[in-house]
């Protein structure tokens, strides 16, 4: 999820260090309110970020393992099988992201393959996973 928590913390500090009052009180008040909201969201993301990525990576790998046997394209099928067998190297966000980007790219290729071949059950299964991923990634406002 861009920007990452570290970027938000760093740029929020930069925003404050540069001074936010020179534009006047009304604008500064709005900026402070937004900074507070964004930092609050960053705190939540710090807590759940690794879990979201770990869970997402696991679910996409399971999906690949499930759907790979029915894929006609031999190269794509081999990539799906190979990727499904991988493990996340660590729980660092950067490692989880690297794996996640690779998985999401391959997921797009898998969905395109299903679309091109009119494989409706596969599309339905992929969309169920995409819906679950989007629900998990949804940023919640409030406490």
């Amino acid at each position: 999820m861009k920007p990452e928590v570290g970027t938000i913390l760093g740029l929020s500090v930069q925003k404050l260090a540069l001074g936010i009052t020179q534009e006047g009180a009304a604008f500064a008040q709005g900026t402070v309110g937004l900074l507070a909201t964004v930092l609050g969201l960053a705190a939540k993301e710090y807590e759940r970020g690794a879990d979201i990525r770990y869970s997402e990576n696991r679910e996409i790998r399971e999906l690949f393992a499930e759907l790979a046997p029915a894929v006609g394209d031999a190269q794509l099928r081999a990539e799906l099988v190979h990727t499904a067998a991988k493990k996340d190297p660590s729980l660092r966000i950067s490692d989880l992201n690297s794996a996640n980007y690779e998985l999401r790219d391959l997921l797009t290729r898998l969905l395109i393959d299903a679309e091109e071949h009119g494989a409706l059950p596969a599309q339905k299964r992929i969309w169920a996973v995409l819906k679950a991923l989007a629900e998990r990634r949804l940023v919640q406002l409030g406490p």
Binding site: M1, K2, P3, T7, I8, L11, S12, Q14, K15, Q22, E23, G24, A25, A26, F27, G30, T31, L34, L35, T37, V38, L41, E45, N97, Y101, R104, D105, L107, T108, L111, I112, E115, L120, Q123, K124, R125, W127, A128, L130, K131, L133, A134, E135, R137, L138, V139, L141
Partner: protein
């Protein structure tokens, strides 16, 4: 701020032929993420009478959320102000950098009003019905206007009713291609779905406001809409594009049944149809609603990139990249999953 105030006064003395003009109370205000917005008062003498006028300055920022044609917003204000819609009177447009370092325009301030917040559970309180009726009536009037007759026939966008959908998908796909910083399987799938399932041809080509929603208009204490703002993304296209954007779930606040915190969806559509003399074909509107969420996702992807690369560290860009993008990703996933019974 003092330097800007001095330069602004100097510019307006010439522009308004008012050698005694002074600028006071210049203050930056929130609003319009792609341009800096300032409120100020101009005091001067005109034909022997003292004038004390509230004005708004909209200046290009060093980096913009969405690159828009600078004169577009100004010309849209002018055209719809003349048509009698609640739109601020445009005063001056400068496309060069000489006066205030960056291009800008100035318009009349519509005073003693507020905007409704999209996060507010009741952005218009007791006036929600009345505000909603005005909101969709004004949108219908924008849709019914003939772009050529109001002088906006050369705006960017589709010139042909069959091209409107394709034109907009291509426009926002380009934005996503340029600004995507991480794989977006849902957004990419939405783009493919939109291309595979084009809507019926537009009923007409209209001026599309491009960002017609809760938060982008001013309401007074009596619940009267006084000004439709933020025309910077206006273009020519299918009028259903604006209707779909206006009823997008992101603007619904706490109640998805009342888009924008105003009227129930069916009533909103009926009022728009009456005011525009157009039909909101359900299949066409469904396509444009999915497009609206895709367009939103594209804007938030751009915002995240601006922030991530340090070009514009306004926290609204971080918020957009997180909350708004995750919201529209979920809307797209739910709507497209439903197409496949998932």
């Amino acid at each position: 701020m003092n330097e800007l105030q001095d330069k602004l006064a100097s510019y307006l003395r010439t522009k308004l032929a008012a050698p005694d003009l002074i600028v006071v109370d210049l203050a930056r205000i929130p609003g319009g993420a792609s341009r800096e917005t300032y409120r100020f008062r101009a005091r001067y003498t005109n034909r022997g009478k003292s004038v004390d006028r509230g004005l708004i300055l909209r200046r290009d920022p060093p980096a913009s959320l969405i690159e828009t044609e600078r004169s577009t917003e100004y010309r849209a204000y002018g055209a719809f102000h003349k048509l009698g819609l609640p739109v601020p009177e445009p005063i001056a447009l400068e496309l060069g950098n000489a006066a205030l370092e960056r291009p800008f325009f100035i318009m009349a301030e519509v005073e003693n009003c507020t905007t409704g917040g999209i996060m507010s559970p009741e952005p218009y309180g007791e006036h929600r019905q009345s505000v909603g009726r005005q909101f969709y009536t004004v949108l219908g009037r924008i849709a019914s206007a003939d772009p050529d007759e109001i002088g906006l026939g050369d705006f960017d966008g589709a010139k042909n009713v069959r091209d409107a959908a394709r034109h907009e998908v291509a426009r926002w796909e380009k934005v996503i291609d340029e600004d995507e910083r991480e794989p977006q399987p849902i957004v990419r799938a939405a783009l493919r779905w939109l291309k595979r399932n084009p809507p019926p041809a537009a009923q007409k080509i209209s001026v599309v406001h491009g960002d017609y929603r809760t938060g982008n208009f001013l309401v007074d204490d009596n619940g009267e809409i006084r000004a439709i703002l933020d025309w910077e993304m206006s273009h020519l296209g299918d009028p259903l594009e604006d209707l779909a954007w206006a009823i997008d779930p992101l603007w619904a606040g706490a109640d998805p049944a009342r888009p924008g915190g105003m009227l129930p969806r069916a009533e909103a559509i009926r009022i728009w149809e009456e005011a525009s003399s157009l039909k909101a074909d359900p299949a066409a509107l469904h396509w444009w609603e999915i497009f609206a969420s895709l367009k939103g996702a594209a804007i938030w992807i751009s915002a995240a990139r601006e922030y991530d690369e340090g070009r514009n560290i306004d926290p609204i860009n971080a918020f957009s990249g997180w909350y708004c993008l995750s919201f529209h990703n979920r809307v797209l996933a739910e709507r497209l999953a439903a197409e496949f019974g998932a």
